[in-house]
Amino acid sequence: MPELKFILESFLFVSEEPLTLEKMRAALPFTDTKGIKEALQSLKNEYDQRQGSICLIEVAGGYQLRTRSEYADWIKKIIQTSAQRLSPAALETLAIIAYKQPIMRSDIEHIRGVDTGGIIRMLLDRKLIKILGRKEIPGRPLIYATTRYFLEIFGLRDIKDLPAPKDISDLGKPVVDAPE
């Protein structure tokens, strides 16, 4: 039988989405999560040592092979990428939703001090955020949260992987109540 790490490598190569540990384990009954994690780590080390264009990262609750950023300009010579850039205002709104989720639009606007309806619609269209539900208060406003796609785009393992906002200590109290 081939080495576990190379079997995993083949899984990663054919996966369209970040591959979860559960999925790998289900396919490999002869080993456990610990064994898979170790094999993934050694695979990751191999990619790192090789210093090639590909690396293995943990993202959106799974593992994925990605190109290193140094090769972005080369890659763009052969494939067309749709514009992913977000305006400063959109980034601000996205950051607020990411850090304070689940959050109502009025709370976002309270922080930013301006109407955010258009930006929210754009972020929804781009699947970076989603409607989580409604808050059970008068008016039943919609509440928003980031999507798994958001984690994939920004290369985050999970939402806790977001770096703590630096520089300014948080004197204010949280804007939203925790969800029930």
Binding site: T81, Q84, E92, G113, R140
Partner: protein, 241 residues
């Protein structure tokens, strides 16, 4: 002071009152924990005045903030009793400012990350531009969850506010002018590309009608190639002056 304000506007367009406030605080190198409220309020009002003089429509948000600042300023003038446990009136503005700055910093941090499709790529890059096929977390529900969900939808149906978005009205005349500019620039236009770039159904129709009108007026002619089906629009040389 007036020239000061002019400089402000030339380098910056403020999206909202918070943006403006942050700018004033940074520009005047003010300690955010000890804002000289009188000075900041004056600068803020100067800016509002200036916007008015430039006939800029001042959003209500800017005026609300102006009122808040003036209110804080007036509360600061009231004598403070040492034994009172009232908090500094400036907290009303300091707290949201800090939070806003924190989120601005967080946005910058997000922006510094390697973005998929921009800095880093996966093996099937087509997926990046088509998030529609991406399911979010897999969820497990039974039939009763579905029924409950359906009931909720039905209940909410009547209370939901529908939003009418008014489409930008582009006239055929405007589009004709636009097209002839483009034609003068490029020499020819591919019909399919014009339609492909259109923003919506109305846009497509306006573009289509504009082309027909131009052909009718002999301002342009259209050629369709047999082999590729490409429809190309050419500008007619103006023979009659």
């Amino acid at each position: 002071m007036c020239s000061d304000i002019y400089k402000v506007q030339l380098e910056n367009i403020f999206e909202g009152p918070m943006d403006l406030l942050v700018y004033l605080i940074r520009k005047n190198e003010v300690n955010i924990y000890d804002i000289p409220i009188s000075m900041i309020t004056d600068r803020y009002l100067d800016y509002i005045e200036w916007m008015k003089s430039m006939n800029v429509d001042i959003a209500g948000d800017f005026l609300v903030m102006a009122a808040t600042l003036i209110q804080i300023k007036s509360r600061m003038l009231l004598p403070v009793h040492d034994d009172s446990d009232e908090e500094d009136p400036r907290q009303e503005i300091t707290r949201p400012l800090l939070e806003y700055l924190q989120m601005k910093a967080a946005a910058l941090q997000l922006n510094e990350r390697d973005m998929l499709g921009e800095h880093t790529f996966i093996r099937s890059p087509s997926k990046i531009s088509d998030p529609g096929t991406l399911p979010d977390h897999e969820i497990r529900v039974d039939i009763f969850d579905l029924i409950k969900a359906f009931q909720r939808i039905i209940e909410n149906l009547s209370s939901d506010i529908s939003l009418d978005v008014v489409a930008d009205k582009l006239s055929i005349k405007d589009r004709m002018i636009e097209l002839s500019h483009l034609l003068k620039e490029k020499g020819f236009l591919i019909f399919q590309e014009l339609i492909g770039n259109a923003a919506g159904k109305a846009d497509i129709i306006v573009t289509f009608l504009a082309i027909l009108e131009m052909v009718k007026r002999n301002a342009a002619h259209v050629i369709q190639r047999d082999d590729t089906d490409t429809i190309t629009l050419y500008l007619n040389e103006i023979t009659h002056a």
